[in-house]
């Protein structure tokens, strides 16, 4: 379980990392926290000839707030995201999801950008990005471009990032609305493992308890995390009666086409998807309703 040999370089800035990526071509990898890349290298599932270390670039480690958006630098540690009280207030799904991500030791090294760029179909942060429709800023020597999460996760461990691009920062939409509720849950073999199926939802109610905005999604049941904007739109204007929640949860699960493996059969995954979708919708609704 030792990685094959490789060259190691440290980039002092994002611009320098982009220049190195441009020169080196396809067989290099960026490394930050390395919590997914290192096991893959140890098991020799991947064998880059060079690692470009971006972990010490201070400009990639920040939490900032703009108008209706929270910005996190790609190399911000998962533990720093989970600890941040302002983020927990404005993008509560991040802390809720991170409680399910690995363990304290991996969250202390793992980064938010690394989790998105790695794009495990059962990972938690990609699902949150998808449900909130986060915007992902990628930089190359040619400049920056912004990718919506909806088009970012292409398949298992595959994103829309080009080989010469570096994920620079993530913009998380902050939902206005005093009565906003959210929830994240999953089923895994052991806590901290990748999810068999995961679900998350966010809901806003008006003063009368009517839903004014909703989004929810499922992960682990396919090749990439999924959000269901058309189904969520059916919740708008409703009083979120349980029958309505059950109906959209059921329809969402029906849109999944999960595979079966050692951990769970396709049928069990589909069953779980419906159960977990209704759970997060109810929990998000209850939280929103509990707010004055």
């Amino acid at each position: 379980m030792k990685a094959a040999s490789f060259d190691y370089v440290r980039a002092a800035s994002v611009a320098e990392a982009c220049e190195m990526l441009r020169q080196d071509g396809d067989d290099v990898k960026l490394i930050a926290g390395g919590q997914s890349l290192m096991p893959m290298m140890a098991m020799r599932l991947t064998r880059p000839f060079r690692l470009i270390d971006i972990d010490q670039i201070g400009a990639l480690k920040f939490i900032a707030f703009g108008e209706n958006v929270a910005r996190t630098g790609a190399c911000t540690r998962q533990s720093a995201i989970a600890r941040d009280e302002a983020l927990a207030a404005h993008v509560p799904l991040l802390r809720k999801a991170l409680a399910w991500v690995g363990h304290v030791q991996t969250r202390n090294r793992g980064t938010v950008g690394g989790s998105l760029a790695h794009a495990d179909p059962a990972a938690e942060l990609p699902l949150v990005a998808r449900v909130l429709d986060a915007q992902i800023v990628a930089r190359s020597d040619k400049g920056t471009r912004t990718l919506p999460a909806a088009g970012f996760f292409v398949g298992p461990l595959t994103t829309a990032l080009a080989a010469h691009e570096c994920l620079e920062e993530i913009h998380w939409p902050m939902w206005s609305g005093r009565r906003t509720g959210s929830a994240f849950t999953e089923v895994s073999r052991r806590h901290g493992d990748f999810a068999i199926v995961e679900a998350c939802a966010q809901i806003v109610l008006d003063d009368d308890g009517r839903c004014t905005r909703a989004s929810f999604g499922l992960g682990g049941g396919g090749t990439a995390p999924l959000a269901f904007p058309a189904l969520a739109a059916r919740l708008n204007g409703s009083m979120l009666e349980d029958a309505v929640l059950q109906s959209v949860a059921h329809d969402a699960a029906n849109e999944l086409d999960p595979g079966g493996d050692l951990h769970a059969s396709a049928g069990y995954r589909k069953h779980l998807a419906a159960v977990l979708a209704i759970r997060v919708l109810r929990a998000a609704y209850d939280e929103a309703r509990s707010k004055p």
Partner: protein, 163 residues
């Protein structure tokens, strides 16, 4: 073909060490093979078992999930750093003995670091907080209960000492 060697400087348990290592050397291999600090154990080598946990700049991390070159310039505390100044077991280590929190001892280096990290921030942890803190560390002997007992016992002893 010889591999390129990269210079690294690490402060381990308060002592500055320098080494020249290949890029692919993990931090745990560097600690054990280059610096001869064999208290930290190697288990799975891909981030599952937690046996290799060390403190990096005051936070627990897995030393198999970090290349030694990435630790250049950082401060590491290993299980050897948890002893009293005279080399005898510290209160946490002693509590593990007292409560029979180990049998084969393989996971113990990581368990001690995980528990140490918890007790740095939470003086009187609940069972749930202890189980969360050691959730990334596998033990195949104890069934975990004695480890939870030992951490609680250590917290109480450290509390008495602080008073």
């Amino acid at each position: 073909m010889s591999e390129t060697l990269y210079p690294v400087t690490l402060e381990v348990n308060g002592v500055l060490h320098t080494a020249r290592v290949p890029a692919r050397l993990s931090l745990v291999d560097c600690l054990r093979d280059e610096l001869r600090l064999t208290g930290t154990h190697i288990g799975c080598e891909h981030g599952i078992c937690g046996a290799c946990s060390v403190m990096l700049d005051g936070e627990p991390v897995r030393s198999c999930l970090m290349f030694a070159v990435q630790a250049d310039g950082h401060k590491v505390t290993t299980v050897e750093g948890l002893t009293n100044a005279d080399g005898t077991p510290g209160i946490l280590q002693d509590s593990f003995c007292e409560k029979h929190a180990l049998q084969c001892g393989y996971c113990t280096s990581g368990m001690l670091i995980a528990a140490h990290a918890l007790l740095q921030t939470v003086k009187r942890p609940t069972d749930e907080q202890i189980r969360e803190a050691i959730g990334g560390n596998l033990c195949r002997c104890t069934g975990y209960q004695q480890i939870v007992d030992a951490v609680k016992h250590a917290a109480a002893r450290l509390g008495e000492k602080g008073r």
